[in-house]
């Protein structure tokens, strides 16, 4: 693979597909889009299999000085690798999910999705600060169109809100980037990750980056764009939003905020903790009372992403690894849950929970998949959700038992709202005739759901496959953060050992055994 610019190739394939889709009619566009995303996925698998675990930190690097002011520099570490694999894995699923539900302006729709894929890969692979910004911000255009053209009834409001919210968040980051580049004299991300900015400046820089990433993640109270955007977006749009776009925020924290401003990150850790604790409890409670399935899952996303931010700012290896696994897992699970909603929406054109019921009777396979993803969302052992949440909470417990305590309620509340949702949709009597008449999932829907289900179980049973590529990078990050890590409240003082073990029973001697 030496010399082959595989990252550029992975961006070029969907880009060419997007151009082809724009000029072709409905059915052709669908097949072109599916083909392009599958080729990109194969390239993603090639990328993963050629990634050397324990090799150099930055692999597959490419560099070309094409532009004035910044350079076209690509390269990935394990963290970026896993997120790229997640993106290219979800894309064919998205195309399949829109196969029948999108009937108007199919060419433009597919082009927007393929363009989105280019930008997502570019964001994760960019090694130049400004190149990152270009990819990061450019995603607004296709997403605005996807929500606005193919969205639900209130799509205009949602698209405006999404666009302006995220734009306002990121422009301040751009100013901070200019300052950093002027200070450090380079826009190379790996160099900047090792650069020590003056602590006074770090505070401002961190806040500017936080403004952008907190909106993207999204953190309470900046999350209000998310339920609107999710509910109004078409199914595949929601999958991409929840699956990948929210991860841009988490990726931003792990790539920029933490390594570049470790002191400021420690200083603001409690801000992040506080917002995350509120998010976990508050959005879970809000999710509990939703009547709209998509809105419920959207609020659950906010709660799950709060576990990510808590894990990231735990400043230890478990927390960071857990946050990454929660991100990957949430990408799969919430994407799959939106697909499940989409399956129902395609049949009955409503997302109102009360319109369904007893689906386990007439849609058993659907109910099975839905149950699996529900359990994964709750964090049942054996699914991906458990691994991530356990590691994250174990990580944060080392830093603050209070935060761990409050965030763990999120799992209980998560079980409450997810099981409540599942009970109302899949169990109980068949209250609505039209819902009872719905057919079970088709072959196309099997093809969408089965790979995600397999990945969820794989990540739950053997997370090592996903942790191994990231381990070295997280260790590097942890070493960089070690000096700045906030004091832990779980530091136990070693006392004098007891004379006997706690379970020793001196008055019972073995001689008495057998006496009765």
């Amino acid at each position: 693979m030496e010399g082959l610019p595989i990252l550029s190739l992975m961006m070029l394939v969907p880009l060419a597909g997007a151009a082809a889709c724009l000029f072709s009619g409905g059915n052709a566009a669908r097949w072109i889009a599916l083909g392009a995303t599958l080729v990109t996925f194969v390239l993603g698998v090639v990328l993963w299999s050629n990634y050397q675990i324990g090799g150099p930190q930055w692999q597959f690097t490419e560099r070309a000085d094409l532009f004035a002011g910044f350079s076209y520099a690509l390269g990935i570490d394990g963290i970026a690798l896993m997120l790229i694999v997640l993106s290219v894995f979800l894309m064919p699923v998205c195309i399949l999910a829109s196969w029948e539900s999108v009937q108007k302006r199919v060419g433009e729709y597919m082009a927007a999705f393929l363009f989105m894929e280019v930008l997502m890969i570019g964001t994760f692979a960019a090694q130049d600060l400004f190149l990152f910004y270009v990819f990061f911000e450019a995603g607004l255009i296709p997403m605005y169109l996807i929500i606005g053209v193919w969205g639900g009834d209130n799509r205009i409001y949602a698209s405006y809100k999404f666009f302006l919210y995220t734009l306002l968040g990121s422009v301040l980051m751009l100013i901070a980037m200019f300052w950093m580049v002027a200070e450090a004299g380079t826009s190379d991300i790996p160099t900047l990750m090792q650069y020590s900015f003056p602590p006074g400046a770090q505070t401002w820089l961190w806040l500017a980056f936080f403004a952008s990433f907190a909106v993207k993640v999204p953190m309470w109270p900046l999350h209000t764009w998310l339920p609107d955007a999710h509910v109004q977006a078409p199914t595949a749009g929601s999958v991409i939003l929840a699956g990948v776009l929210l991860k841009l925020g988490g990726y931003g924290f792990i790539r920029f905020s933490l390594p570049m401003f470790p002191e400021a990150s420690a200083q603001f850790a409690w801000l992040v903790f506080t917002l995350s604790m509120i998010a976990v409890v508050y959005t879970s409670l809000v999710a509990l009372v939703q009547a709209d399935m998509k809105k419920l899952i959207a609020y659950s996303s906010v709660a799950h992403m709060a576990i990510v931010t808590v894990g990231l700012f735990a400043f230890n290896v478990q927390g960071l690894e857990g946050a990454m696994i929660v991100m990957l897992s949430h990408g799969l699970v919430s994407g799959a849950l939106f697909l499940c909603v989409g399956v129902l929406y395609d049949r009955l054109h409503t997302r109102e929970i009360a319109r369904y019921g007893g689906l386990a009777i007439n849609m058993p396979y659907y109910a099975l998949f839905f149950l699996l993803f529900t359990m994964a969302s709750i964090g049942l052992p054996g699914t991906s959700g458990f691994v991530g949440e356990f590691l994250s909470l174990a990580g944060i417990y080392q830093t603050s038992s209070l935060v761990a305590l409050i965030c763990t309620t999120g799992i209980i509340l998560g079980a409450a709202y997810m099981l409540y949702l599942y009970r109302r949709v899949a169990f109980g009597g068949q209250v609505n005739e039209d819902a009872a008449a719905m057919r079970d999932i088709s072959a196309r829907e099997w093809v969408m759901m089965a790979p995600i289900a397999a990945a969820v179980l794989w990540m739950g049973v053997y997370p090592e496959s996903f942790l191994a590529p990231m381990r070295a990078d997280i260790a590097v990050l942890d070493a960089r953060l070690a000096a700045a890590a906030p004091a832990s409240d779980a530091a136990l003082a070693a006392g004098a050992p007891r004379a006997e073990a706690a379970n020793a029973m001196p008055e019972h001697s073995s001689a008495k055994e057998g006496a009765h």
Binding site: F67, R105, Y144, G148, I156, L167, V171
Partner: protein
């Protein structure tokens, strides 16, 4: 004084003046039937004049060898850069005109008038003099030649009340601004004893008296009117809306370039020793233009009016580069200016293509509803221009904002840059309204007219420049802008 040398330096202007005079005669004898040929000849003249600039642009010229007519004019890289942009904009204004004037869009006065290309030529000569002026006298000469041509251009549809109103408004307010400028110049002359830029500069060193400060402020106010910066922007929406659309396209590009270049030259070469005196003024004007340009645009229904506010908003970003007051800022400003011209030509060309079967133009949001279904090519091009104007990457408009804000932050004006960039989000609101109306709303289907090759090629070319491919231009563009900015600072 070596006249041969001076004439060689002003060869493009000589060529344009000569072409203009000949074409004036041709127009007088040939009448309006010859209008098309006159326009083609004028465009050819502009093209040749532009071609004459290439060697100087490429190799860069500065120093005493660029002074012509005893220091009245200074044809350095900076002037060449501005002139190239002006000539290109003028060519575009000529290209889009015939289809407009020869259709129902021109109302009762159907048929292009032969004066139109001639006036554009004279305006271009005036602007050439403006950007190469090195003396307040030549500055005023160029400014008035340009302005008088522009007043007539705005009112060229004589029987159209909107056009006449635009011409009159432009004339009255323009004359007022010229008066303010002239008054400022006279104050500066009185306090420094010269009209040449070097002489005034020499007189403005050290502690500046109140009279001289008033001179500076009056000159800047006059110039702010010409670039339509807040608080001297009020004429812009009315004139842009009333003037015939090809003329509006011209107003939004060439005179803006000339006025911005002139302002840059005046503040750096004349007031270069008094940076604190004018920097605050420019900073205020820049911020006010960004904010009021954006706020004013929000309620607009008329697309031309909206683009007028958009140009005020963009002037704010250009002035941001000026407010930085160093060579990086000036270079960033020129890069932005180039991108702004491309975006403006593109969006006005797209507006000119919104026609019905008779060629009458549509200019409100209601008319472009669902344009992406009925006329996808125009809609996608407009989408590119609007997102680019909003500064969303990966379109080239982002690069303009990128260089300007980079210069701002590198010069240490971080808070200033942060406020300005946050205000730019307000502007995004109405730019995405364009996209919303064209892509999200149900089609109104009124835009049915076909457009000619001139429009399509101009639209395609500008869209290509603004598309991400335009980033490949940035190394050479930055190089040219750096040379131009460096020549501006040589005297300092």
């Amino acid at each position: 004084m070596d006249f041969a040398h001076s004439f060689a330096l002003v060869l493009p202007e000589l060529l344009l003046s000569f072409t203009g005079l000949v074409l004036l005669l041709a127009a007088a004898w040939g009448g309006d039937k010859a209008a098309r040929q006159v326009a083609i000849a004028a465009a050819a003249g502009l093209f040749v004049a532009g071609f004459l600039l290439v060697p100087g642009l490429h190799f860069g010229t500065d120093g005493p060898a660029t002074l012509a007519f005893g220091g009245l004019l200074k044809i350095d890289s900076f002037a060449l850069f501005a002139k190239a942009l002006i000539y290109l904009s003028a060519i575009a204004a000529l290209m889009v005109a015939p289809a407009f004037f020869n259709s129902a869009a021109a109302g009762v006065e159907r048929g292009m008038r032969a004066e139109y290309p001639v006036l554009i030529l004279f305006a271009a000569v005036g602007m050439s003099i403006m950007v190469s002026a090195n003396d307040f006298m030549s500055l005023y000469l160029g400014l008035e030649l340009n302005s008088l041509s522009a007043y007539v251009l705005a009112a060229i549809l004589r029987r159209d009340t909107r056009s006449g109103e635009a011409g009159l408004k432009y004339f009255v307010l323009g004359a007022l601004a010229s008066g303010i400028l002239l008054y400022g110049m006279s104050l500066l002359y009185g306090f420094t004893g010269g009209t040449g830029f070097t002489a005034v500069r020499a007189g403005l060193t050290g502690e500046m008296g109140l009279g001289a400060l008033f001179g500076v402020i009056f000159v800047l106010s006059g110039l702010a009117f010409k670039v339509s910066a807040v608080p001297f922007h009020m004429w812009t929406p009315d004139v842009y809306e009333g003037a015939p659309t090809p003329v509006t396209a011209f107003f939004a590009t060439a005179p803006k370039v000339a006025a911005v270049a002139l302002t840059a030259r005046v503040v750096f070469e004349v007031f270069g020793a008094q940076v604190p005196a004018w920097q605050q003024i420019v900073m205020f004007t820049a911020l006010a233009s960004i904010i009021f340009g954006a706020l004013g645009a929000i309620g607009q229904e008329n697309l031309k009016r909206l683009l007028a506010y958009s140009s005020i908003n963009n002037i704010g970003f250009i002035l941001l580069g000026l407010a930085v007051a160093n060579a990086d800022g000036a270079s960033a400003m020129l890069v932005y200016l180039f991108i702004y011209v491309a975006m403006s030509i593109g969006s006005f060309t797209a507006l000119l293509m919104l026609r019905d079967d008779d060629g009458a133009l549509f200019e409100t949001f209601a008319d472009i509803r669902g344009l992406s279904v009925t006329r996808p090519a125009i809609a996608w091009a407009l989408l590119v221009f609007m997102f680019s104007l909003a500064g969303i990457p990966p379109l080239l408009g982002f690069y303009g904002k990128f260089v300007v804000f980079q210069a701002t932050v590198e010069a240490g004006l971080v808070a200033f840059g942060a406020i300005a960039i946050a205000a730019s989000v307000i502007g995004a609101f109405y730019y995405i309204k364009f996209v919303k109306v064209m892509f999200f709303d149900a089609p109104s289907g009124v835009v049915t007219g076909k457009s000619g090759a001139a429009h399509w090629s101009l639209l395609g070319l500008t869209a290509l420049i603004i598309s991400p491919l335009g980033y490949l231009l940035t190394p050479s563009l930055t190089d040219l802008a750096d040379k131009a900015a460096a020549s501006l600072f040589l005297a300092v």
